[in-house]
Symmetry: C2
Subunit: 307 residues, 2 copies
Amino acid sequence: MNFQQLRIIRETLRRDFNLTDVAAALSTSQPGVSKHIKDLEDELGIEIFERRGKRFLGLTAAGKEIATVVERILLDASNIRQIADQFASRDEGTLIIATTHTQARYVLPDIVKRFKDTYPRVHLTLHQGSPREISNLVAAGEADIAIATEALDVSEIVTFPCYTWHHAVIVPEGHPLCQEVSITLEQLAAYPIITYQEGFTGRGLIDKTFAKAGLAPDIVLSAIDADVIKTYVEVGLGIGIIASMAYSPQRDRNLRMLDTHQLFPINTTRLGIRRGHYLRDYAFHLVEMLAPRLKGAAIRAALNRDG
Amino acid sequence: MNFQQLRIIRETLRRDFNLTDVAAALSTSQPGVSKHIKDLEDELGIEIFERRGKRFLGLTAAGKEIATVVERILLDASNIRQIADQFASRDEGTLIIATTHTQARYVLPDIVKRFKDTYPRVHLTLHQGSPREISNLVAAGEADIAIATEALDVSEIVTFPCYTWHHAVIVPEGHPLCQEVSITLEQLAAYPIITYQEGFTGRGLIDKTFAKAGLAPDIVLSAIDADVIKTYVEVGLGIGIIASMAYSPQRDRNLRMLDTHQLFPINTTRLGIRRGHYLRDYAFHLVEMLAPRLKGAAIRAALNRDG
DNA sequence: GATGCTTACGATACCCGTAAAGATA
DNA sequence: TATCTTTACGGGTATCGTAAGCATC
């Protein structure tokens, strides 16, 4: 048994049992991949993969149990490298954050700037994606930290509350709703609405809120990001519901944000880290910038629980 | 990084940083060991071991963190082999039990017989040793299951209650205590006493019981096993305090066991398994024979908690 | 016929063991 | 001086990549 064999097992799962893809992903030859699998199966005396003829279809029962252990070994192997890097150069290295448009555009810029100032020698990478994509990146160990409001509840990932926020309503300058002192859901539902797509930035809670009130709002456009929403609110397609931090009086001069704190429930943006993943000290500092309440030691402990 | 390097790291800790011993233990050459360590340190860019000149003294700070991960990787590697064996041949394999004299001599024979009948193709090995030795064997992964009343409370080992028992007093036929209806600690303390050594078969509880009653018993002989104790009770050196299951009316015709249930607190014999260790199905059956209350699924869950 | 896996084979690199030298107690 | 580690070197093996062959879709 060697690490290359284990890497091949893992990659075979990720590449949907196509050994040609596996070879490409690990930048080696396809026959080599075949042989490694065969060698390992021979050594263990069992078949790890289900086959029809020469095609690979999936895992055997034994393969399923082995796969989880293989994942853990490879995670630990990368942890050893992380630990070494940590001691070799405390303030130098890489950090990959996977996050959504909302965070990347409206929340992270300040924090990233502070982080870069503190750790100029850390190579910080941001990966933007849908909550689901983010979640997969972190679960696969391809990103260190996920920051999102949705879709982080998978078993491989430990999440921590980061900060809370509310949805707000935006309307064009001079819109009738600007006159109202206290706005109700019924009033909102009377207008065409532009907001996030299902699965993005708390859309689920918006739907639930209207449904609970027995209202069927007319969603004329669902977008992935607040910039698109604002654009169409400006042209008068409807009123917008966005995360409040996406509104800035300076930038959005043609728009008004209405106080609707009481209408929609609280959203919690969470950060997610892969269970068992070793994080560099500077990563914990970033986490503390994001959520001052969270302490490095507590996070380390949570990451190693229930391995 | 490869597995041989990791094995060498682990063995270096176990052999107290003597590379010559490490080479012998892994049956390879000492220069090879040196080179592997150097190669790994170069690859990681840090020193794992503290050195004075050419001598190895201990782990560096980085080495300490890495060592725990190395342990886990090697444990998982052996788990993969176990899983493979499990699927290759469900009722065939090996099982190593580490236990004390008391268990091996008076409790396990029946269970071992039943187990051998059920699983004739499993190679069952018993390792007898002191509680401390047993504990080390299981923690090092050299035995699968520990069975003992003492010394299993180390962090690497998960323990489960197995069964409970009491200490009993044995005296030679015709001893004055045989006349007494209800015996007190004071009466016992009036005679010379023969019992277990410190750290064996509940000796600690015996001492505590007398101390609590303000008594200072005269321990004229401390032995490791009940057979030695019984021998000296027979020759009249004193009265014996042993685990009740060590007495058999048939075998021990020259001795009488006195009912002292109420005098000494309950002892619990526990079984211990290394945290994260994968056990074969037949091992769980043995556990169920030892403690019918314990269920395989619950044990598997406990072994994987708090990795 | 296109895609995907296995077998065959030669070059390379890695790993191991022996021998000798150097450091430490 | 005895013990222990490092350096140096040669032989063997494992790994890798290319090329060809064969199954599956």
